[in-house]
Symmetry: C2
Subunit: 286 residues, 2 copies
């Protein structure tokens, strides 16, 4: 048992304190709480659980969270109208469209319509493009940002490190690769078509697993002393597990995140941070 636990829960709790102070300042300026609109049209039960967690955290720290549940039969045009209305509504600071949407509706097509300043998931093409180009997007995807904060919490210098990102989703794998490249890491992006995944992982000073396959990455694939960030949240018969075989990996890793209590709390707290930033952008104070 050599690996030090990266305690996402307590790091997120620390961030929460400074966000609360920020909220107080914003409330004084705008005369109301920052507001997040969650647009839900998901057939997925897990989505409702995630949305519930966002609402609870928001209310806890002083952010109003409105959930607009359009049901599972919402049309693309209906969802669009809600987005367009929220773009113009000055009382809505930030909005997210909870994916997945009902089958046949393009999430991308909907997300594209969000005003980048209100895009607190950081997923509009404009914000992703600014991020990719090394500019300053209005908002950065929450989980990707949280991963960087977890790595930084270890005190390890990212510059020059070999990073292997397993998984290339738009919400985690690709933006975290971009963020770490900007911090001068040498970044390799792997996925289901990677031929020798074990070798690519073993080579990593920092290993990020975001593939959604329970306990898929075992200790044989982990470099001695590596930082291991497990993004997976897999519901199995044994409860919730990550993408990394935690007990084995912990023997080899220098630092490792638990699941739950690692990346998860960072996602929610960064969403809250983005909502506060959005409120500041809306009020012209950022």
């Amino acid at each position: 048992m050599t690996g030090t636990l990266i305690d996402g829960k307590s790091i997120a709790a620390g961030m929460e304190q400074s966000i609360k102070q920020d909220i107080e300042t914003v409330v004084k300026k705008i005369g109301r709480k920052p507001k997040l609109l969650v647009i839900l049209a998901s057939p997925d039960e897990a989505s409702k659980i995630y949305v519930g967690a966002k609402k609870r955290k928001g209310e806890e720290i002083g952010i109003e969270v409105d959930i607009n549940d359009l049901g599972t039969k919402a049309s693309s045009a209906e969802i669009s109208r809600v987005v367009q209305k929220a773009n113009l509504d000055k009382s809505v600071d930030g909005m997210i469209v909870q994916l997945p949407l009902p089958s046949g509706i393009s999430g991308e097509g909907i997300i594209e319509q969000i005003n980048p300043n209100k895009d607190v998931d950081g997923l509009t093409p404009f914000n992703i493009g600014k991020l990719a180009k090394g500019g300053k997007p209005s908002h950065v995807p929450c989980t990707a940002m949280g991963i960087v904060q977890l790595i930084e919490s270890t005190g390890l210098k990212i510059i020059g490190k070999n990073v292997t990102v397993v998984g290339r989703s738009n919400i985690v794998g690709k933006p975290v690769a971009t963020l770490l490249l900007q911090r001068d890491a040498t970044v390799t992006i792997c996925h289901s078509k990677t031929v020798d995944l074990g070798m690519e992982c073993k080579h990593a000073d920092i290993l990020i697993a975001a593939i959604g396959r329970p306990s898929f990455i075992t200790k044989e694939w982990i470099k001695d002393g590596a930082v291991v960030i497990d993004v997976g949240i897999n519901r199995t018969a044994d409860g919730i597990t990550g993408d990394v075989d935690f007990l084995g990996a912990k023997e080899i890793a220098g630092f490792i995140t638990p699941v739950p209590g690692g990346v998860g709390p960072m996602t929610v707290i960064n969403l809250m941070r983005n909502v506060v930033t959005a409120a500041k952008l809306g009020a012209g104070i950022e």
Copy 2:
């Protein structure tokens, strides 16, 4: 001498034939030649040479190329006005802002203002963001697209291959990494802070050098039979050389691009292709 030459000049010439046919169709529809506006405010002599090459190629194949040379003392506001005017001008199908701009002017800030459909360099945040997300941007950066076409010309399947991209510029390194990731390669992005560049290169089935350092990559760093794409155009006492030590690398590589005559012609022809696409977008026929 085992490496087969990848003849960018003849591949570009082949593309030129189909683009010319495309131009004929477009001319019939819109009653005029497609038009590219080049906005030049560059203190850099090389920029004028590049712009001249674009104009010559355009005129050769039936694209009107207007060069608006604002001189080296143009202000940011002046350049912006030209971009805004061209956004609204229906006779301008595509535009590029030739970088670098006079010192103190943000190229990014200017490029952001281009209508994505007219952004034939594919460098607006919107187009880069769509590309990064795996969507369909109006235009893809010309050199990056050209590199993919050169690799495909070898007949090699990209899926599952290890690609090492040396260099992380917005116009080459980052977009080509994205394009190859989309084609299911395992992609590593290296740069000046990479600790063991030789090892990262040696590991590559496909090696892309885009760093601007003459003959920097030598045969010791090349994997037997690799595809080597040399993006460098370095002016040295010995004439123009690439980033790869060509004669040495050719002994080891399976396929290799020469400099000049490799990537260069692909950049120009893809720009022309993007202008034709822009004309189609403008006319609502794409």
